[in-house]
């Protein structure tokens, strides 16, 4: 085993032992999985309505209107899931990256 490999393994061990690493992992996976659940949940709920209750989406937006509820709903699925993406990227680029940079700095 070469010297470089040894020190890489040691560095990994030291990062894992750092409580900040635990915090980084926990908060990142909580955010990532809940946003995934929110996006997929919204989408499959939408698909369930399409398959089993199409009339809900086919209702006019108002008295005498031709636009239906389905149009803004489908557009909202796209826009909201994009906003979720934005929220994740914002959190990751500020909070998670700062934690990660701290961890790497403490190795030195």
């Amino acid at each position: 085993m070469t010297h470089a490999e040894l020190s890489h393994a040691q560095r990994c061990d030291r990062i894992r032992a750092n409580p900040k690493f635990q915090r980084l992992v926990r908060s990142r996976s909580r955010l990532a999985w809940s946003l995934s659940a929110a996006v997929l949940g919204t989408y499959y709920l939408f698909m369930l309505v399409v398959a089993f209750q199409p009339a809900l989406l086919h209702a006019p937006l108002g008295e005498g209107r031709q636009l239906t509820v389905g149009i803004p709903v489908a557009a909202a699925v796209i826009v909201l899931s994009w906003l979720c993406t934005g929220w994740y990227v914002y959190r990751a680029n500020t909070r998670f990256d700062a934690l990660g940079a701290d961890l790497l700095a403490e190795l030195k």
Partner: protein
């Protein structure tokens, strides 16, 4: 009757991706000089970029990943350029034109995979990978076996998708430019070879960026011109569309296309998770300097793609009024009959109606550019699987010099280009819609399960990954053969044995199940080592410690 309905649904359901592959053999149109002139300008511009890129491309890292020097915003545009094929513009707008709201539902399915890639994959892809997604899968597993398998999965997906694009390109160009089918396929193939061989990832990225900008600008302009006809009121657009369409009010709500819940579920699983298994899309995450830029790039890409999809919906509904009631766009002027040039030409007719011949020429050139950008990305992904995975790592065990590896990449690209041209010509009159089902089915049931488990599941072992990957591959393949798109349309049987269009609902869970069971049962010493290695992989995935850095230019 039943059979006809299923067949009709099958063709439509596959239409947006396979649009260009749909079962029509386009009539050759008169030579379109505007379109050819504008396309010529695009080709000259991109060739100049390729010349510049060739001088920047010195190492394998430059070639495969542009040295990791693409910014998040640029990469976001390039991802959007890689993903939005001509099928998106033409297929989805035609689907809304024909079916109304069902087209919108379908479009949403194409989109939802992107946020999931952002949350669960983008940063890990960048932190763990270098050139290909096989880097990640084989990070702690057996290099030889897993890389061979992953390269095989990549190549299958790349080849299927290349054929779809080539056949589509030939038909489309024949229609739009009035060129001969074979000439069109050869032009696309040769240009693709030039971009990839000389300019590598740098040139491919810029071709994709330019194409994305052109497509977004062209689509938006077209939508604005179309909306102007309705005084920019969506309500007016909706009421006139309802009044113009044969099925009237039905276009404003879910219809027959997704009425079968199992079919809809299988389709959406395949589309949502298939994106995360397309090698040319995954490869784009290695071109940015770090995980931060990788995340930003999906955010931008998702925004561009979402925006463009909404624009396409406006195009589809506007076309119902503007194109659907204008006899000049129908064969023999019969508005109840067939559209001139086939059902996929809706967006093009709309461009002519609201913007005249010049705008039609512009949009045709954009469609051609679009195909070029997508096939270049595919060829690069396929070539890197051959040279980086199979040649440099499996065959040479990492001892190949950069020069040798680059040489093999270029040979592989030429090989793929010839295969694409050859199959493109061979499949001219074939209905290749099944290849779309196959592409996304294999991506979702082979590449995606193995990749996500390698990233997230400590207990994954080489045996588990191989067994699960092969189970997904075989099931997807068999189900596509038994599906209406092959069993009925290609082989001519009366009734499909597997009645749904997409295999993912069955093949994807099966792949996961086999991966889990076989990995759990694996008690070998190698399996223990592989599980133990997860800890270090996890640290790198989370922090980027030891991740491949960007090369300096």
């Amino acid at each position: 009757m039943m059979r006809l309905r299923t067949l009709g649904t099958a063709c439509l359901a596959l239409a947006p991706l396979g649009v260009l592959a749909a079962p029509f053999v386009a009539e050759k149109q008169p030579v379109n000089l505007h379109a050819i002139a504008m396309f010529f300008v695009f080709v000259m511009g991109t060739l100049a970029i390729t010349w510049w890129a060739a001088r920047q491309t010195k190492s394998t890292s430059d070639f495969y990943t542009a040295g990791g020097g693409i910014s998040g915003f640029q990469n976001g545009l390039a991802i959007a350029g890689d993903y939005m094929s001509a099928a998106t513009l033409l297929g989805l707008s035609s689907l809304v034109f024909a079916k109304g709201y069902d087209g919108f539902v379908y479009t949403v399915a194409f989109f939802v995979g992107w946020p999931i890639i952002t949350f669960l994959m983008a940063e890990r892809l960048r932190n763990l990978g270098r050139y290909t997604f096989a880097d990640i899968v084989s990070y702690r597993l057996d290099q030889t076996q897993i890389r061979t398998f992953a390269a095989f999965g990549s190549l299958t997906v790349v080849c299927c998708y290349l054929v779809v694009q080539m056949v589509g390109a030939g038909q489309l160009i024949k229609l739009l430019f009035g060129l001969d089918y074979t000439t069109a396929v050869i032009v696309v193939g040769v240009l693709m070879l030039v971009y990839v061989i000389f300019g590598g990832m740098i040139a491919t990225t810029w071709v994709q960026i330019i194409k994305a900008v052109l497509l977004l600008a062209g689509g938006t302009t077209l939508a604005l011109l179309a909306l102007a006809e309705f005084g920019f009121s969506l309500e007016t657009l909706a009421s006139r569309a309802v009044a113009s369409h044969a099925i009237g009010w039905s276009i404003m709500g879910p219809g027959s296309m997704l009425a079968d819940p199992i079919n809809a579920a299988s389709l959406s699983l395949g589309l949502v998770f298939g994106i995360a298994g397309l090698p040319h899309i995954l490869m784009r995450f290695f071109t940015v300097p770090n995980a931060r830029e990788a995340r930003k790039s999906v955010f931008y890409a998702t925004g561009f793609i979402g925006f463009f999809f909404l624009v396409v919906m406006v195009l589809g509904y506007s076309a119902i009024v503007i194109v659907g009631t204008d006899p000049q766009f129908f064969v023999d002027g019969n508005v109840k009959g067939a559209l001139i040039g086939g059902g996929n030409m809706v967006a093009m007719h709309l461009a002519k109606a609201v913007g005249g011949n010049l705008f039609l020429g512009f949009l045709s050139a954009v469609a051609f550019a679009t195909i070029l950008a997508v096939v270049s990305g595919l060829a690069l992904a396929g070539a890197s699987a051959i040279s980086h995975d199979l040649y440099a790592t499996v065959l040479k065990k990492g001892t190949a010099s950069q020069k040798e590896e680059m040489r093999v990449t270029r040979i592989a690209t030429v090989g793929l280009g010839l295969v694409a041209i050859g199959l493109g010509i061979l499949f001219e009159k074939q209905n290749v819609a099944f290849l779309v089902g196959l592409t996304f089915g294999i991506a979702a049931s082979t590449n995606f399960p193995v990749l996500i488990m390698a990233m997230y599941w400590r207990n994954l072992t080489t045996r588990g990954a191989l067994a699960g990957g092969f189970a997904g591959l075989a099931t997807a393949l068999v189900l596509v053969i038994l599906s209406p798109a092959v069993w009925v349309s290609v082989l001519g049987h009366a009734q499909a044995i597997y009645p749904y269009d997409h295999p993912a609902l069955f093949s994807m869970p099966l792949a996961f199940l086999v991966i889990v069971v076989v990995s759990r049962l694996d008690r070998s010493a190698r399996a223990e080592r592989e599980r133990a290695a997860f800890d270090d992989q996890f640290v790198r995935a989370q922090t980027g410690l030891g991740a491949a850095a960007a090369s300096s230019h």
